[in-house]
């Protein structure tokens, strides 16, 4: 059986089921143009205002594959992430992402994320020989982001599985090992 440090288990149990709201991010024309340029999203759907103006949406669409990155950074800038940090938990590598697009995000939209901690799963600890602080990844978190536009309309449902680093657990483990 895989176990995590007792204190960490309690912290994670306390946090499961909590939802926090992020600040807002505006999809400005400049931001959209730079994202399209950097991701090579060259389709007129994303990159051509004249091509999209007469159509159903009247504006360029933000590239859907970039929305999970937006959601992750919105969470990072909000109170949910700060609460994790306060409890000695750092987010590490993302294991997987699943996104369902509900509505297009257009140039000029403003988006926010409501992020819920759905659950956690213990992992085997990795070798911490190279680090005295963070090379200890005891669990993954399952997060759900509901990304909404300025009208409150759901634009994407995103599920992320993210490794965590527990600074507190790593320190406790080091203390036990050296004791």
């Amino acid at each position: 059986m895989i176990a995590v440090a007792e204190g960490l288990e309690q912290v994670l149990a306390d946090l499961v089921g909590t939802t926090t709201s992020s600040p807002e991010l505006e999809i400005t024309a400049d931001r959209l143009a730079l994202v399209c340029s950097l991701t090579w999203a060259t389709s007129p759907l994303h990159a051509s205002k004249p091509a999209m103006a007469p159509g159903e949406f009247g504006e360029r669409l933000f590239p859907g594959p970039v929305l999970p990155a937006i959601a992750a950074e919105l969470f990072h800038a909000g109170p949910g992430f700060r609460e994790l940090e306060r409890r000695g938990i750092e987010l590490a590598d993302t294991r997987s992402i699943t996104v369902a697009y509900r509505r297009p995000v257009l140039a000029g939209d403003r988006v926010t994320a409501s992020t819920s901690l759905i659950g956690w799963t213990p992992q085997r600890p990795v070798d911490s020989a190279d680090s005295d602080r963070v090379d200890f990844e005891p669990a993954t978190l399952a997060l759900h982001d509901a990304l909404r536009n300025q009208r409150g309309e759901l634009v994407a449902d995103i599920d992320r599985v993210v490794m965590i680093r527990s600074v507190a657990a790593a320190r406790a483990d080091d203390t036990r090992a050296s004791g």
Partner: protein, 147 residues
Amino acid sequence: MPELQLGCRSRSLERTIERSEIELLSTLTVPDGADALPRTTGPLGGALLAAVVATLAANTAPLYRELRETHGMRIIAALGMSATFHASVGAGDTVWAETWLQQVRVSASNPARRIATCRDEGRNQNGALVVELVRTLLVQFDRDSGR
């Protein structure tokens, strides 16, 4: 009209990721006024890697141009995407993707349209798998719309 070739792999262009691109991409996804710095100042991993590989596959692999030109396939909307990560990509690494059409089925809600499932494998300059993607698209073929 030729039959759709499911499972035929198509290779994207290669792209070498510069450090400045990683940093700028990270900055662009951070809300204005946020007091936190973007997390992705090191390797390109997670959501941003998925975004780069998905758009690389969709925009530069010949498959989608062939589907448009030979089969009259038009993408109406992206419905979803899933990504499984195997490794991160650092500054100076070169990524490319293999993409293929896995399945095309009639939309249950609109028989004139179809649901296409595309698979992408993102790899680095050593051929190592860095990310696997499944993208679902709502598409329409000219033959279905009588054009």
